[in-house]
Each structure stands twice: as C-alpha cells, then as structure tokens.
C-alpha cells in the first residue's frame, strides 16, 4: 500500500469538492433548471406565445392580494422598463432572457436574479416601503451593458390601482 499516493488522492478530491462549495452562489436555480431542462421557454419565440407575450408583461394582480411581475431581459433593456408594484405585498417575479445571460440587481443590495435564455427565473420579493427602486444588469451582456437599467416604482398599497383581469400595471406606456 502506498499511503502517500492515497493521501494525495484524498486531498485532491477534498480540494475539488471545495471549489463548488466556495462558489455555491453561482450554481443557482436557473442554471440548474436549464441543465435539468425544466421550466423551459423558447427564447426566440417569447413574443409569439406563452406567458411572455408583450401584453402579458408587467404586474398582474393575483387572487390572494400578491402580485406577479413578468419581465424579459434582453440586450440592453429590461422590458417593461418601469414596473409599478404595491409596497408590503409579496411580489412573484418571473423573468427570462431573450438573448444573453443577464442579472437583475436591485441597487444598494447584493440581491440578484440571474436570467438565462431558455429558462424562467423565479424570485420572491417584497418591498417594505414606497419609493423608486433602481435596478441594473450585473452580468456583462455586451456593448450597451452599463446602460441596461430599469426601475420598480413602489407605491403604497392603498394607492396601487385595483387591476382588472387581463390588465397590467405599468408606469410607462405599455
């Protein structure tokens, strides 16, 4: 028995295990979903059918009082550009990418939602106070990456307009 060789082998194995352990935050939900093939959308035909058609983007009022926000990240815009959401209410964010890898980050936080083409990223947010929450793209996505910004306009819950079925709350012309 060559204990020295075994020892080297075991330590190499442990060191290899450390790499994913230290970079666990990069092995995130959308990437795993993409690899598993679940939650699939066709990034090329988002505009033709499915839940990311353009009149379905934006805020949708759910029956239990929470809201669902659907967004597309693309070079070099988040669409819709400005999203109206009520404060103190659970926000279910569904975001997908039409081209490259993007990452929706809320300014002043280290919270980011990575968006990959071909899969829907889900995030649960809740904005405690009213105000404008700026977002930026944190994943380098191309020549216009640094200008890829948008905002969540959070209004007090009582000022959030009661949305009818099929209506999308947006603070820009939609």
């Amino acid at each position: 028995m060559n204990w020295r060789k075994i020892r080297i082998f075991v330590f190499t194995l442990l060191a290899l295990c450390l790499i994913p352990a230290t970079r666990y935050y990069q092995i995130d939900e959308p990437l795993l979903k993409l690899l598993r093939g679940s939650n699939h959308v066709d990034p090329l035909s988002l505009h033709l059918s499915g839940e990311f058609v353009e009149n379905n983007l934006g805020t949708e009022q759910d029956a239990d009082g929470s809201v669902t926000v659907r967004m597309i990240a693309q070079q070099y815009l988040f669409v819709p550009h400005c999203i109206l959401v009520p404060a103190g209410v659970p926000v279910h964010l569904k975001i997908t990418s039409a081209d490259a890898v993007h990452s929706l980050t809320l300014n002043g936080t280290n919270y980011a939602v990575k968006t990959l083409p071909g899969t829907i990223s889900l995030a649960e947010l809740q904005f405690p106070h009213a105000g404008d929450y700026k977002t930026v793209c944190r994943e380098f996505c191309g020549a216009g990456h640094y200008a890829m910004r948008s905002e969540f306009k959070v209004v007090p819950r009582d000022q959030f307009p009661a949305l009818r079925a099929g209506e999308r709350g947006a603070c820009v012309l939609q």
Binding site: N56, Q75, Y76, L77, H81, Y146, A147, S150
Partner: protein, 270 residues
Amino acid sequence: MISSLLCVPEKGGPVFCNKRRASSGRSIARGIPIMLTVMVAAGSLILVASDAAPDRIPSFVTWSAENIAAASSGDAFRGSLLAKRCDHCHGAEGFSPVASTPNLAGMNMLSIWKQLEDFRSHKRRSRPMEPIAESLTPRDVADVVSYYAELPVFPDPQDNRVFPGMQPEAGRAAVAARLVTFGDGERGIPPCQSCHGPVAYRVGVPSLMAQNGDYVLNQLEMFASRSRSNDINLPMRTIAALLSEDERHALAEYYGAGLGLQPAGSSGSK
C-alpha cells in the same frame, strides 16, 4: 384519434392519415364521432380563447437558424434585377432621392428581410410597401435582400440622393453623439451604436450608418406613439418613448448628416 388530428391534408385530397381506412365506408362512419369530438373541442377552444385578451404579437418573425439561413441564402445578381422595381423610391444605388424614404445600401440582410416579412403579414403598416412585399416570393425576398446588403455605403456623389444631409448645429450634434456613444444610464437608454452599428449589431437590427434623417425621425416618432409596433420584445418602443422630442430630432439630424458612418467619439463626430 390523435394521429388523425395531426395529419396534414394532401394536395386536392381530404384530411386523412391512413388512405386504406379512408377508402372503406365503414371507417368513415367510424370517423363521424371523431369529427364531432374535434368540432366540439375546437368550439370550446374558441370560447376559452375569446374569454382572455388576445395575445398582441409584434411580428411573426423568429430568429431561428432556419429563418436566418433562408434570409441569407439569396442570389445577389437575381436580386439586382428584381430591385429595378425598387429604384424609383429607394434609388438606383440604394440611396433614396427623398429623405423620408429609407436608404437600403449596405443594410444588414436580416433587417430588410424582417421588414419585408412584417409588411407581408401586415405587422408593419405601409401603403406602398405592403402590396409590394405581398407580391414577392420568399426567394425573391432573399435575393433582393442580398443585393442591397452588397451595395457600398459610399455612393456616387453625382447620384440623385439626399444623403448625407445638412450638418447639425454643434450643440445638437453633441447631444446626439452622447446618446449614440454612451446612451443615458440614468434613464436606462442604451447607446444606439451598441445595436445599430458601427460598434455592434443585434440580430435583425438595421444599420443606421447611412440612413436618411427624416426617415429616422419618422420611425422614432412612430415607435414612441406605438403606431409602429413590429419590434420584437419592445426595445424600440421603450427607447423611443424615453427619448425627448429634442433628442429624437438631434439623433435624426446626426444620422442624416452621415455622422453615424464612424463610431461616435472619433474625429467624424466633432
């Protein structure tokens, strides 16, 4: 039953999957309940669909590998013969004699191809272009597109054309050059040249290097007012609405004067 639903009708024949079955009377009688089921299912689908708002589809074009291959496999020589029809408005060298008509010289293949497809499906409205696009076969479109893509962006100066137009006032040119190079990060406006060239292009995005100013202005205003809405996933409708009236004019003058031929920030834009 499902396989009978998936069948494609043959030329001049009924929609039957299995010809042997179709030929016997008994199986046709067996097919009647199937047809009734299909009709009921279709009817209920229509009812469900009418309940929800219809999907707003900007364009039927997708940038799949097949579409890109179809759009870029044209024959430029045949296209040059077909493009004789286009000369009257778009100019013999792809530079139009009227500022409100787009120049097509050196335009990316995929962008002209997409616009012709959208004219054909009436997703982009234009009184002259819709019937013209309808009269072209897919091969004609690919040929014309490859012809215009090959034309040089520096035309014969004696040609009857309006491009490049008047040089804009220095202050306005600076505003436009800033938007073209850097965009406006505060408002989330990406730089024009990161998609429209000459720095980078997105798939299917037109080059603005040699475009007429009036045409650019018209399109920006139509995008802002949503009277043109064939941009996939709303990029231009969003950006045009974010730009102010002055900025749209400045950008149109900038591109119309030929300043977009070089990357902004180089000596050409001063």
